[in-house]
Symmetry: D2
Subunit: 349 residues, 4 copies
Amino acid sequence: MIIVMKQNAQKDEVEKVEERLAEMGFGPHRIEGTGRVVIGAVGEQKIAFPTGLEVLAGVERVVPITAPYKLVSRQAKETSSIIKVGDLEIGGKELVVMAGPCAVENEDQLLTIARAVKAAGAQVLRGGAFKPRSSPYSFQGLEEQGLQMLETARRETGLKIVTEVINPQEVEMVAGYTDIIQIGARNMQNFSLLREVGRSKMPVLLKRGLAATLEEWLMAAEYVLAENNFQVILCERGIRTFETSTRSTLDISAIPQAKELSHLPVIADPCHSSGNWRLADPLSRAAVAAGVDGLLIEVHHKPAEALCDGPQSLTPENFEQLLAAVNPIAAAMGRSLPGKARPGMAEGL
Amino acid sequence: MIIVMKQNAQKDEVEKVEERLAEMGFGPHRIEGTGRVVIGAVGEQKIAFPTGLEVLAGVERVVPITAPYKLVSRQAKETSSIIKVGDLEIGGKELVVMAGPCAVENEDQLLTIARAVKAAGAQVLRGGAFKPRSSPYSFQGLEEQGLQMLETARRETGLKIVTEVINPQEVEMVAGYTDIIQIGARNMQNFSLLREVGRSKMPVLLKRGLAATLEEWLMAAEYVLAENNFQVILCERGIRTFETSTRSTLDISAIPQAKELSHLPVIADPCHSSGNWRLADPLSRAAVAAGVDGLLIEVHHKPAEALCDGPQSLTPENFEQLLAAVNPIAAAMGRSLPGKARPGMAEGL
Amino acid sequence: MIIVMKQNAQKDEVEKVEERLAEMGFGPHRIEGTGRVVIGAVGEQKIAFPTGLEVLAGVERVVPITAPYKLVSRQAKETSSIIKVGDLEIGGKELVVMAGPCAVENEDQLLTIARAVKAAGAQVLRGGAFKPRSSPYSFQGLEEQGLQMLETARRETGLKIVTEVINPQEVEMVAGYTDIIQIGARNMQNFSLLREVGRSKMPVLLKRGLAATLEEWLMAAEYVLAENNFQVILCERGIRTFETSTRSTLDISAIPQAKELSHLPVIADPCHSSGNWRLADPLSRAAVAAGVDGLLIEVHHKPAEALCDGPQSLTPENFEQLLAAVNPIAAAMGRSLPGKARPGMAEGL
Amino acid sequence: MIIVMKQNAQKDEVEKVEERLAEMGFGPHRIEGTGRVVIGAVGEQKIAFPTGLEVLAGVERVVPITAPYKLVSRQAKETSSIIKVGDLEIGGKELVVMAGPCAVENEDQLLTIARAVKAAGAQVLRGGAFKPRSSPYSFQGLEEQGLQMLETARRETGLKIVTEVINPQEVEMVAGYTDIIQIGARNMQNFSLLREVGRSKMPVLLKRGLAATLEEWLMAAEYVLAENNFQVILCERGIRTFETSTRSTLDISAIPQAKELSHLPVIADPCHSSGNWRLADPLSRAAVAAGVDGLLIEVHHKPAEALCDGPQSLTPENFEQLLAAVNPIAAAMGRSLPGKARPGMAEGL
């Protein structure tokens, strides 16, 4: 790190900072500028920011030099990670497609949708049994009963399952039913939960928080890896901005950035980010063109009657069309979509 | 709610929406505009947004009319609530002052600070035993040992205690040590945790999330009240914006807004919002002038060596000065500060 | 519009609002809800928001129903507009590629870059002669001399020219040299300037402001169209958010939204939005996949010595690679890139 | 500045950066860290960011050390500036109160309001003759006729005048009528306009842009000072954030920050920032408690019929109450309000 002293910092203030750096195990390296002193702190130890040095007399600010994450970093592992979920590989040449309803509502609904997304080519069925809802009066999910329905759907269709967990106490139970555990955007910095899913050794789908910087998102993943669980899939799902025409703003730049800084696979959730199924198509194409390793799509056979998030859910027909539209983009990226052969968009549209 | 149809919506699309409204128990009320149809839905039932109607053919958007919160609303309870913590009243004429270190580090540290803030006039000691840190490598708190130290400090000083809980499983244990349970900004939408602290029937200090709208913040409080626990204190602690000169942006407008929309007391946290102890003074004065019912201040006797958030911690001397600076503002607002008689700022500065 | 009355609004307050609506020429249409009254205002006239009704006693809020823009709207013109610049068509099947340096520095620099981007396939040369810089001490552009160099480059290469104007007084002069006038992000709501470029009847490239909502952006375009100049090209260039890893956040969702709401062509500027040339590639691909009609790219033969925005400038080689990478995405979208035949990415990379 | 090299930067890449620094006139100062090299650049010259060094091979990023502003800085002038407008001093012990309608509508309206705000104690009359409106169909102001009415109001009441200019060409004309020239938020980075008002040598009220960082705001002021016009008053008027319950978010922290970094006076505009007259009261009190040197308040005798911004306008009665509410806060800050003696709030409310 670099300690920038104030322009009028006194000689003894500079010395005091250097002493403190030495106590912290850093080799202080002073640069006498024309207007002020700047001190480089040389050393290997990782420290947390803010450091405490900020409050010493004469200090203007402290500039971190190295990123705070370690295990998630490309410097720790140069090759892109492939997360294996049974015979499914996430992060390879074939894109992963996860699809299904926002919430598991009943067995009929789930099986109808599961069969439809399977037929369209999805490999993973999503569906919430524990729903974090902004209102206590909204449908909160079927809980364990919902997990049982997901298990039934898995047995019937062969799809893998991804479902959200919201309480550290329930991680073990959820892990017993699912293939991938989802951490939702609102829980991205629920560190008790992150540690618990880390300990579960299950593949984890980690959604970015609505106000989380790229660095904080990677640090949240670091919590899981620090428990010796390296199976993390990052999911960009939009950030909160001033723009109100979409529910949140898909941060398309975060996709190549996350893939450059980290070795973990990255997928995108175009439905939650926009809150509008009509945008799922262009946003999915854009995400694939930006380099994602997969898509998470909300599908419901009767969106108008869905117990949650109907407006951002595609019908099975729309979902088929979305995959058809994404297919030529995937091909252009040297990637492929799972499932049946598809006509290219240039031909098909 | 109001359903706004598209300009080119067909007659049968309008009828379909009205049928669906009737099924949902609403009396549809059609307005034929010059350019389009708008349908008012009359009825008492609360429904969650989005409603599903958004995806019906011909619908442009659905506009909620009533706020989604009930129990926290001023319409539910016109008079401002006063939360009682033993003999302490929060929300009354006297402002509440909560102060202490970011983290409990050891007994000496805690007692030193506790005595200092008590002497300056604080009524509540804050101190974290479970720390939600963005890095897994940062100090995570002393956990139950830290709670025991807080108990010791309470016994020694008579201060009430407020401390954070981050895991639903630990609510009962934390409740056994503290007077007020804090829900941190990162957990504002950790609904399992909110429900659990609701069930605990303890006073709850609910910090606003960094990306939470005013409405979402009140809805989070609603989760606690919905468990029949009405003892919630709202705490404005800054929101995330593009401005980087402060750690977050204290949303000063949210203070009068929250107090107008809700009957709950509101306090402010000038240290976390700015990340800079030098701003604690003007922000505390501003918050009191905007109508808060109290302040939450970080105090550390050795900020440069604090295990967390040193740069935003005041020394006991600075804390005394802050209260002296706030005192005349409180008086101007017809409020008072606890503790010893203070000189007014106009005289004192 | 809809006027939502307060829950406790009095009968005479409701009547007062209805009277005022009648005075304003609206037919008031009252809906008696279970908890409150809501009034629909029926009429054709466009009024500005806020309306003044907001301050009448008993009024809680006023909800606009129709969008405030007219001429830019798809309702005004259903087919997508194609802007003609000589023999160049913007908004058609072929994507437009505009490329060149941030600032015109000297004739050698400009011609070197112009020839390179021409060779790579660009149809339009960009280059600033009047530079809006955040510091008065930064290079402010060569002004008219720079425009003359652009003219020379046009003559030598046959490229069309796009350059920024920052002062209404200079519109006529700039129009004498350029083919397309650019309005920069900082001037998106410089209404004097918008009106002046409207009157010039020149094609206008309108960048979105850093804090402009989609609606405000379209309203800025409306200023130009209201002067009877329909040749506006919208340019998404990123919005300001809390994320600091990029200079701004490319709002990828705004691309399909703008194209759905408006008939105007939309292009993207991946360099300014990210501030990082390494992201130009994935962001260009994403923008094309989201449906843009063209790209605006910064190219400099010596980025490290550029007088402005070097870090976001591509070298001519990188620019060639970017087009090669974008080409198969364009093809997948049923679009084409100008210039020489290119290998597809799946083969080429 | 500090150049942070990548972890794997080669020796010759480091040397190349040092050579380039030397060419730019900086003394390079290398620090060999355990993981990477960091280079301090020592020298007095101001350079613009980005610097171009960012694109050199092996460079990770460039960290500025010194602020980019000079003349506006407290380091350039330690004592707080007092701007003199005739016999009025802005930035002294007495707060300045500027009040009046959003737009000048007609002579009757203006004189009625002018007399009312004068009676209540205001020293400056605000009123727009050139209105930057987001819609071309909204009332755009009476232009020079409006300026003549302001002159009449000045003659009749003795109030000073502040009014906005939006076009560089009109600066001279506006300067002939007004005492203070206002630069609106949308024009904060209209550099042609800033330079022109700088040359006018008139006092300038510079509103912060909706997406402007504190640093960009100070740099905009620097444009005026760089023309040798030191009479700039900064005006905080809210920034754009995700929160929708207010029109924008008053950045209360920016007030003490601007006053610490700069010697210029700072005032606040509680009406524009909130868009809601009901918040003018608490926000004005908060701004004064945070240290502003004055307030800018919208007042209209018939807000419901105002041609612009009625909902954020106070009636003359509300304006009187606002000053009465602010008065004891001002006193608590050791400041005073202009005009008649006022009861303190503690007594008066």
